[in-house]
């Protein structure tokens, strides 16, 4: 084998990937996807950082300073109520769009996704890596917001769990992003998906104002939305209250369902 390239004028090298186990192929897939997201980040970190900040900052200024004095948040400063919600929001948006938009471009426009399909990494592993990469990007945005919120004079409490919840939220929405991008048949589909799924959550999910005064029927729907659980948990941690473990389980289950669904769709699609 290693003489082939030499014959063509290309120096050859012994390539021994013969005995790679399925497990190590899985690791290859996950690591490759995360590496790819890291390369994206390295190329574009200024733009990524700026765009992760714009809308959260606007919310903080407009709501925190403007509207905040009028909202009743149980005696606590409104900004302390708002910041966990904005962090939940930022991790959602960044995780979702960092995965869905770039995968969509790779699949439909650059068609570089072809190389992923034909390559010997299990598709599920690559998808999983994308989700982790997206979740990390979401966390990046969340941490940025947290740091900036300190300038706004918040006094919220964070611990390890706070970051775990951010990551889980990122995982849910990154997996939703992958799902959206494999369903999408055009670029516009992604922004439609955003309009119908992501934007409603932005406003409804306990992010900017308390939802305990919503009508019961609406409250049921709102309680099914993952972002509601994230902002509730982040806020609980920020207030040094205890969180509901069921919410954590719910997020994990949702992420798993999205991953599974994506895989089924990809393996069924006869031409992506």
């Amino acid at each position: 084998m290693n003489e082939q390239l030499t014959a063509a004028g290309i120096p050859a090298e012994e390539i021994t990937t013969e005995s790679k186990s399925t497990f190590s192929r899985w690791l290859d897939g996950i690591r490759t996807a995360i590496w790819e997201k890291w390369v994206d980040f390295r190329h574009e970190w200024k733009k990524i950082t700026a765009s992760a900040l714009v809308s959260p900052l606007l919310y903080m200024v407009a709501l925190g300073w403007g509207l905040g004095s009028m909202v009743n948040t149980g005696g606590r400063p409104y900004i302390d109520f708002l910041v966990p919600g904005i962090i939940a929001l930022a991790t959602m948006n960044t995780a979702f769009s960092s995965v869905s938009v770039s995968l969509n471009v790779q699949r439909l426009f650059e068609r570089s996704f072809d190389q992923i399909i034909i390559s010997p990494v299990p598709m599920a592993s690559y998808i999983f890596g994308q989700m982790i990469g997206g979740a990390l990007r979401g966390m990046y945005a969340g941490v940025l917001i947290f740091l900036i919120s300190l300038l706004f004079g918040t006094s919220i409490h964070v611990n390890v769990l706070f970051f775990v919840v951010m990551f889980l939220n990122g995982l849910v929405f990154a997996s939703l992003g992958v799902l959206a991008s494999v369903i999408a048949s055009s670029h516009l589909d992604i922004s439609r998906f955003s309009t119908f799924v992501i934007t409603p959550m932005t406003f409804l999910c306990n992010t900017m104002f308390p939802v305990d005064r919503m009508p019961a029927a609406v409250a049921v729907i709102i309680n099914c939305l993952p972002l509601t659980h994230t902002s509730r948990m982040l806020r609980a941690i920020a207030y040094t209250e205890s969180i509901n473990v069921l919410s954590i389980i719910y997020l994990i289950v949702l992420a798993a369902v999205f991953i599974a669904l994506t895989n089924v769709i990809i393996s069924r699609k006869s031409n992506l």
């Binding site: 290693n2 063509a8 390539i15 990937t17 490759t32 650059e110 570089s112 010997p120």
Partner: protein, 280 residues
């Protein structure tokens, strides 16, 4: 050996079949060319062999093992240079190579070393640090070829690999393909440069309207048609006549009485003749 058995493909929402009952055996170490007009189904066939597209019916086996998207042990032996440019344009050339190396599970050091050698070979080493978007169309194609060779494949599938390349680069790629073939790689390729297929391919198949019509060596195809070609300028256009023996050809020249040009038949003649009769 790659065995393509009764492969049929109908794209969703398409009315016509892109491929209909295609069966082909491609031997290990063989250079196999697939020739046919636009829309014949060449890309579809290659995409099925590389699992990019799944067939509606039929199967592909490689060395007796049935190919599927899940068979990573088979997939790792195959590389595909697609007809369309399929690279991440916002990555640098070196990163495009690294991405592929990682997907094929090569160790980092080897990726770096081989990438440099392959970029050197394809003549784009000086572009290693620029983004793929900054490459010309031909340079992007060279990058795809370099990338396909990175994993040292046993089966190399090339869908019009030299389209858009300058004559020098094209020749170099075809020489490289001959070199790869001599050392035992299985090559499967399409091209509209029939003379190149003639020089590289051990066997070629004609495909048109999703069906394979002929499979043979270029030499057999030419001698079956007649290896003596005579071009006659008749009125508006040049018409070619083919003869199996010199005597027949001479007889024709005597009776025609028009200015003629005598030459050897080429695979392109076979191609044009077959496609001409199929177009009616």
């Amino acid at each position: 050996m790659i065995q393509i058995k009764d492969v049929t493909k109908k794209y969703p929402k398409a009315r016509k079949y892109a491929l209909e009952n295609v069966s082909l055996d491609i031997n290990t170490g063989e250079a196999f060319g697939i020739l046919g007009p636009n829309g014949a189904g060449k890309t579809t066939l290659m995409s099925i062999i590389t699992t990019l597209v799944l067939p509606t019916a039929g199967s592909v086996t490689v060395d007796g093992e049935k190919l599927s998207r899940q068979r990573i042990d088979i997939k790792k032996k195959i590389s595909f240079v697609t007809q369309h440019i399929s690279i991440r344009k916002d990555m640098t050339v070196a990163e495009v190579m690294e991405l592929s190396g990682r997907l094929y599970g090569l160790p980092g050091k080897m990726i770096k070393k081989r990438s440099m050698q392959l970029l050197e070979f394809t003549g784009i080493a000086d572009k290693a640090k620029s983004t793929a978007r900054g490459l010309s169309g031909g340079q992007q194609r060279k990058l795809m070829i370099a990338r396909a060779l990175l994993s040292d494949p046993e089966i190399l599938v090339l869908d019009e690999p030299t389209v858009g390349l300058d004559p020098h680069a094209r020749r170099k790629i075809w020489d490289m393909l001959i070199g790869l073939k001599l050392k035992g790689l299985t090559l499967l390729l399409t091209t509209h440069y029939i003379e190149e297929a003639e020089s590289v391919c051990d066997r070629v198949a004609f495909i048109s309207g999703g069906r394979v019509s002929d499979i043979d060596t270029p030499a057999n195809m030419i001698s079956d048609m007649g290896s003596f070609a005579i071009d006659v300028f008749e009125g508006e256009r040049t018409k070619s006549y083919f003869f199996k023996s010199a005597e027949e050809a001479e007889g024709f020249i005597k009776t025609s009485g028009k200015p003629v040009k005598v030459r050897d038949s080429t695979l392109e003649d076979v191609f044009l003749k077959k496609m001409g009769t199929e177009l009616g």
